[in-house]
């Protein structure tokens, strides 16, 4: 079993360059949540020339819409959602300095091209492991679009959030590499 690489946010371009597809990582520090509706609104703000709810430079966005917290809990179940739905919006944010995305599932060529061009990394979290991931979230604060409920933008402080580098800033893609390694030809 390979070592687990510890990552502390903010995720600078220097840190991004050291990560390779297949690396298992544990992320600590501040990350931000956004999914479909929040992305749509952020892109509208950019088009209108307005500032975003947070500066995306050197930051990680986690694609998640958590469950409500029980009283006494920080957050409810909080696993990754399918990233491909954010593909239309991600290149714009990457061009503005976003360096990390956490989600699950395939990304488009446009997103991968932007990641290579600007230096960003795509982490896969385990789809379906929402309770486990919630236990790594130490604090949660809605910072924008509260009307969106679960889709609001949240600032999370995480400790040892488990993930795997799926696509690195060189374009290596674990979904392709891993599949080829274990595929059995008919």
């Amino acid at each position: 079993m390979q070592n687990i690489i510890k990552i502390q946010t903010p995720l600078t371009k220097e840190k991004v360059k050291q990560l390779k597809a297949g690396d298992n990582v544990s992320i600590s520090g501040t990350i931000y949540t956004a999914r479909d509706a929040a992305h749509k609104r952020m892109i509208s703000l950019i088009e209108e020339g307005k500032s975003l709810p947070f500066d995306v430079k050197d930051q990680i966005i986690y694609y998640v819409g958590p469950c409500p917290a029980r009283p006494g809990q920080v957050i409810g179940s909080a696993g990754p959602t399918t990233s491909g739905r954010m593909d239309a919006y991600a290149p714009t944010l990457i061009s503005m300095g976003l360096t990390g995305m956490i989600g699950k599932g395939l990304r488009s060529k446009e997103v991968i091209d932007s990641m290579i061009k600007y230096g960003a990394v795509y982490f896969g979290a385990i789809g379906g492991a929402g309770a486990l991931i919630a236990s790594t979230i130490e604090s949660e604060e809605v910072i924008a679009f509260p009307d969106l409920g679960t889709e609001a933008i949240r600032k999370l402080v995480v400790r040892d959030f488990p993930a795997t580098v799926v696509i690195d800033c060189y374009g290596n893609n674990l979904y392709e590499i891993g599949r080829k390694r274990y595929m059995v030809a008919e």
């Binding site: 079993m1 390979q2 297949g22 298992n24 509706a37 998640v64 819409g65 958590p66 469950c67 409500p68 917290a69 029980r70 809990q73 409810g76 179940s77 909080a78 696993g79 959602t81 399918t82 491909g84 699950k104 599932g105 395939l106 896969g124 385990i126 789809g127 379906g128 492991a129 929402g130 309770a131 486990l132 919630a134 236990s135 409920g149 679960t150 488990p162 795997t164 799926v166 674990l174 979904y175 590499i177 891993g178 599949r179 080829k180 390694r181 274990y182 595929m183 059995v184 008919e186």
Partner: protein, 280 residues
């Protein structure tokens, strides 16, 4: 004639919504344990271990296994000798969903209009499938369906000349294209025959069958086993990161169809294949 009051139905549906989201069924947990022995990828093994740990944490902390607590799909097998009293059966089921998602701290994921996309705020309405059966009991199954896997499902109206090979190719191709998106290892429900909507419903219902039980028809059982073997050669693996365990099971259901058609539906479910049932 048995009478069942809607209050009982509301309470039952509320509990089933919560149970299905908190507790991984034993057949799935056993299959994940078995997968740990079969899996050759270290990362794949790590993913399977974390899924088992996740299920344990959800159970002990009484929280949802996954944040996508789904659109509530409810199957109701109602005995023809049952009479519902106190109100509307459909309203009662939706009230049960409303209370289950509120009181169980489950996510509300339903939008009222697919175009406007404004959240209904209480996860209703449920998608309800009624089936009238003999007898005087009422069986309710709640299967919360997440859309990571639902979005990767597909239906195709094959030609009769496509035959069994065409069916196999379509099923495998659908799982291949889904790749990492539906949270593998997946459970695959396949419906073959009927009409367009019948095939889709057969596929959805196939997901309710425990994954350690094969179809009682031996030719369908063989098809299920062959499809599972072929899917597990795709290399997708746990979380799609590469590995041997891409699917835990393939459940196939068939129904007579028209002389001109061969409808096939593939409904993919995530590893948790959530469903809980009760008989009143």
């Amino acid at each position: 004639m048995k009478t069942i009051d809607v209050v009982k139905i509301i309470e039952t549906v509320e509990k089933l919504c919560i149970d299905a989201n908190y507790y991984l069924n034993d057949d799935i947990a056993n299959s994940l344990e078995k997968g740990l022995l079969l899996e050759e990828s270290d990362t794949g093994k790590l993913v399977l271990q974390q899924l088992l740990k996740n299920a344990e944490m959800a159970r002990s902390q009484k929280m949802a296994m996954c944040q996508d607590t789904g659109m509530a799909v409810v199957f109701v097998d109602i005995g023809q000798d049952v009479r519902i009293t106190g109100g509307s059966l459909t309203d009662a089921i939706n009230e049960g969903v409303r209370r289950g998602y509120q009181n169980g701290y489950l996510r509300k994921s339903v939008v009222k209009n697919p175009i406007d996309r404004v959240n209904t705020g209480d996860n209703t309405p449920a998608v309800i499938h009624y089936n009238i059966v003999e007898g005087d009991s009422l069986k309710i199954t709640v299967a919360p369906k997440g859309f990571g896997s639902e979005n990767m499902s597909a239906l195709k109206m094959l030609k009769p000349s496509d035959g069994i090979d065409g069916v196999k190719e379509f099923v495998i191709d659908t799982v291949r294209k889904a790749g990492p998106n539906p949270c593998p290892p997946v459970v695959v429900g396949v419906g073959i025959g009927g009409t367009m909507e019948k095939a889709a419903l057969l596929a959805k219902r196939a997901l309710l069958r425990p994954i350690d039980i094969r179809n009682s028809d031996s030719s369908i059982k063989n098809l299920e086993e062959e499809l599972l073997e072929k899917i597990n050669k795709l290399g997708i693996g746990p979380a799609g990161l590469g590995g041997r365990v891409t699917a835990l099971a393939v459940n196939v259901e068939m129904f007579p169809t028209h002389i001109a058609g061969l409808p096939v539906a593939v409904n993919i479910n995530c590893h948790a294949a959530r469903h809980a049932e009760a008989v009143l």
